[in-house]
Amino acid sequence: MKRFIPYLVLALGLFVILKSLLPSQADPDFDLEGFSNLPILANGRIKPLDTVGRTTLLTIQGRQAVYLADGSKITPNRWLLDALFRAEIADTYRTFKIENLEALALVGQTDETLKREYDSMTARFMAVLGFLPSRHSRFSFEQLDPYLAEIDRQGGLAIELEPAQRNPFQRAVLKLRNNLVLYQQLKHSMILPEEHDFLTLLQELQENYGAGIAAVRARANEEEHDEALAAQMIDAGQIFLRMDNLAFMFPLPPLGEDTSDHLWQKTGKALLESFQTGMVNPYAMAYAGLGRAWREQSPVTFNTIVELYSTQLNTKFTEQMSKANAERRFNDAAPFYTSLLIYIFVFLIAITSWLVWPEALQKSAYWLLILAWVATTVGILTRMWLEGRPPVTNLYSSALFVGWGCVGLCIILEKIFPNGIGSTAGGLTGFATMIVAHQLSLTGDTLEMMRAVLDSNFWLATHVIIITIGYSATFLSGFLAVIYLFRGIFTKSLDKDTAKSLERMVYGIVCFAALFSLVGTILGGIWADQSWGRFWGWDPKENGALLIVIWNAIILHARWGGLARTRGIMALAIFGNIVTSWSWFGTNMLGVGLHSYGFMDEAFKALVVFVVINLLIIALAYLPANKWRSANRLKSA
């Protein structure tokens, strides 16, 4: 029986992965998949509407699904369609997250209004325990509407300050203002939200162009003219101008032969141009048609337009369409979320293996770890292909890659020392880094364009990758040391052999970390010399990398000089966690220098907590040896 456990676990893991590949947003009536496939240009790259919906929701409300008042939820695609074409309905969805108390007061919320009522007894009980939220933290545009002027004023005051000088209220209100602007921009992408029958407007325009333009000309020359027609034209012009000013997205592909990215157009701009060409942009017309079909909830029309539009794009924009399609599938499969789930199980199975069924469970954990790692790898490779870049291009992707590196090293460790330690560390670090990555994804589209200064695939592929592997290894040695202490102090499972192999693992990984962080730091120096004229500039990120190198050197020299024994080395390795987290995130929070590309202030709290926890664990290491539960097993062989 026990023999089959690993196979069973592996099959379950495979099932989870295969299930994630199935479409999750399918709709029986509307071809939402086809719609979310449609490519648009925003922030420098062509992406599917699917990405726009998901990243906008992540930015404004911190999650992708939208929950309605009755507890049901709608998918990002439906929300996007409502925001684009039925703004008056989207305005009622609670999609703006506000947590700061002063900011909540600013938008008229009191303890009374914030309180969440649950009907069922169980739900109320869960809310008291903290498993369900007891307060509202998301609000609809409609709720915020009366306070827009004040939010704008407060945000305007906050924006004058340097990011580091803003207080929590100012940060919250500025974020709210940005989110509201983002939402307004989105609403003006395809139609004018107040103009409920945009398609008719365009159709009338199309019919009356000749006469209409003549009327406007005549009016300008103070000649006889059809006043109503001239007024209609001028009104339309102002609508398009407003859309052009407010929208940020470029949804319309170029009409001519030249299909380069910079020829994509905003709807407003393209419609303004129709006054010169005498023809309404057909793509704008298609989106207006989609809008009406969605407003009227008419699946047949909707699906026909999606179909026609996609077919047309497929011939001329084959590559963009297939990439958009791949990106939508990638979003839908969410490989990093799936691997996060599997990493949790790896960790649980691996630690259980120290109590029961060591062989079967260790094998299960090991196989599952490999499976999750492969899923992460495929995810990273897909991102690389979509972006045309090496794996690490921003903080988000660095978190993915640190996780990938840690787990990769753990697989090797588990292969060499098959005792469940590698799998435990792999499950833990994989899970932790995926959580960090998720938190970092809340700032918007994670496939960003590279800023000019950092635009060098060669250095991104060498310096950045090697230094990131250095981070991975330093973290890993720290986590291994934590496992050593926890097993020794809290369980009786740490015998002499396990202790020895853990010691060797930590030493090996520290050597590896020292090598990679040193080489990575030096390569960074060479990049800086090649690109900016100085090998070393004492920039915070450079200093951070140097700290990791020095720290690993300290551990190695302390061991070679006999200054620290096992317990000391373990404590030093755990301090490596602190040094690495400082270098990875802390330095970015200073807002100084070339590398401060990812300023985030909310992460500061998390960093402090992480540092404190590690310091506590280090303190724990100095518990007298006879207080350790494994004390006896460590003494005797």
Binding site: L41, A42, N43, G44, R45, A164, M249, F250, S260, D261, H262, W264, I416, E448, M449, R451, A452, V453, D455, S456, W459, C511, L515, L518, V519, I522, G525, I526, D529, Q530, S531, W532, G533, R534, F535, W536, G537, W538, D539, P540, N543, G544, L546, L547, I550, W551, A553, I554, H557, A558, W560, G561, L563, W582, T587, L590, G591, V592, G593
Partner: protein, 390 residues
């Protein structure tokens, strides 16, 4: 004596010292990184790394007091420690070759960083489109210049460094027919036309202005605190009196903010006086032919900055075109030109010009360390594999 010497060597070559020094350097680097928020990267380099001691004022006074070893001291001790360890423990064994190469590389790196700190010079070269320049300007230093314009073919320039001006030292030189006496100096100050200041401006906040000549009497000087922001430049103002054989010729107000030089006549010659960014003349000129600032489609994210320049040597030995863009500098006559800043709306580009004679050292260090580390890593791997087989 011998015993003492031995104890000395033992102390300096010990691993314990290495660990202590490495720990001290970590603290130094960490604190210096935090200090960058206040002092800026450049300010921190001087205070923490290019110094023997980190100084702080005794509370309530202006008396500096060493609080922590500085970069020179820690680096110096590390160097001694490395060298001592090598001389005492050196063994010509293959198994130690990796460690030895790595450490020699480290020595080169430390020495290199010291030399670079002492020898590297960087300047900025700001060019408008179509403009040609034969000099670059210092990022931080300024100079007071007096120019004899009487010769038709060339100008006779006497440059006085800012430090001399700052010390209020009178300058007398064979090249000048008058003495230069600095009456006041403000390391960072704003100047503005008195008549264009808004009604009711508090004039008492302005520094006393004793100037009598040029544009000076019409200006108000408001001293500012020194800025440590790496993006901002301190702009000094000085009041300079020129004294000829027959007494004072008047006092001029000078500042790099006044771009146009002030002109006066003395003993039948035309002179110019100005306080400007310190210049370094080059044996060649650089002309900016075209600048480009590309953004990603549908965004404001910069994709590339590039400057197309023509480099002409004064002796006619070189006349070529070169494209400078991100990550692709131009190297010429020991100088490296990097794309530094750009304002495409106003049509100018700023290149950073660096001369660094010690540039090769980090590369040599890298090669040595790479060899050492690879050696070490591979030999360990081989050992490990053998042991597992056994």
């Amino acid at each position: 004596m011998n015993e003492l010497f031995k104890a000395f060597v033992k102390f300096f070559s010990s691993l314990r010292l290495t660990v202590v020094l490495l720990s001290v350097s970590m603290i130094l680097i960490f604190v210096a990184t935090l200090a960058q928020v206040e002092l800026g990267i450049y300010g921190v380099q001087g205070k923490f790394f290019r110094s023997f001691f980190v100084l702080a004022n005794i509370p309530g006074t202006q008396v500096p007091f060493p609080v922590f070893p500085g970069g020179y001291l820690v680096g110096g001790f590390l160097l001694i420690n490395l060298l001592a360890a090598h001389f005492t423990r050196f063994k010509a064994k293959w198994s130690k070759a990796g460690i030895q190469f790595t450490h020699i590389g480290l020595i080169v790196l430390l020495v290199g960083e010291l030399l670079i700190g002492l020898l590297q010079e960087d300047f900025s070269l700001r060019l408008a489109e179509g403009e040609s320049r034969g000099y670059s300007e210092s990022f931080r230093r300024n100079e007071l210049v007096l120019i004899d314009k009487s010769q038709p073919d060339f100008d006779e320039v006497v440059a006085i460094p800012e430090s001399t001006v700052a010390d209020l030292e009178p300058v007398q030189s064979g090249k000048l027919p008058f003495r230069v006496v600095t009456k006041a100096y403000y390391p960072n100050a704003n100047i503005g036309m008195l008549n264009s200041m808004p009604e009711g401006t508090d004039v008492s906040g302005l520094a006393p202005n004793s100037s009598t000549e040029g544009i000076g009497p019409r200006l108000g000087v408001s001293p500012l605190p020194l800025s440590f922001n790496d993006e901002e430049r301190n702009l000094p103002t000085a009041l300079v009196e020129l004294v000829g054989t027959e007494g004072s010729m008047g006092t001029w107000l000078v500042s790099p903010m006044l771009v146009a030089p002030q002109t006066f006549n003395y003993a039948g010659k035309e002179w110019q006086i100005s306080f400007r960014f310190q210049r370094e003349y080059k044996p060649f000129t650089v002309e900016l032919k075209e600048l480009k600032h590309d953004v990603y489609a549908g965004s404001n994210i910069p994709k590339n900055f590039s400057s197309l320049v023509q480099v002409r040597a004064n002796d006619g030995s070189e006349d070529r075109e070169s494209l400078i863009w991100m990550n692709h500098p131009l190297r010429y006559q020991g100088y490296t030109f990097y794309q530094y800043q750009m304002d495409s709306a106003n049509g100018f580009s700023v290149l950073q010009v660096v001369r660094n004679p010690g540039r090769a050292l980090p590369y040599i260090a890298c090669i040595l360390m790479t060899i050492g580390l690879l050696w070490q890593f591979i030999s360990h791997l081989v050992k490990f594999a053998r042991r597992r087989k056994a």
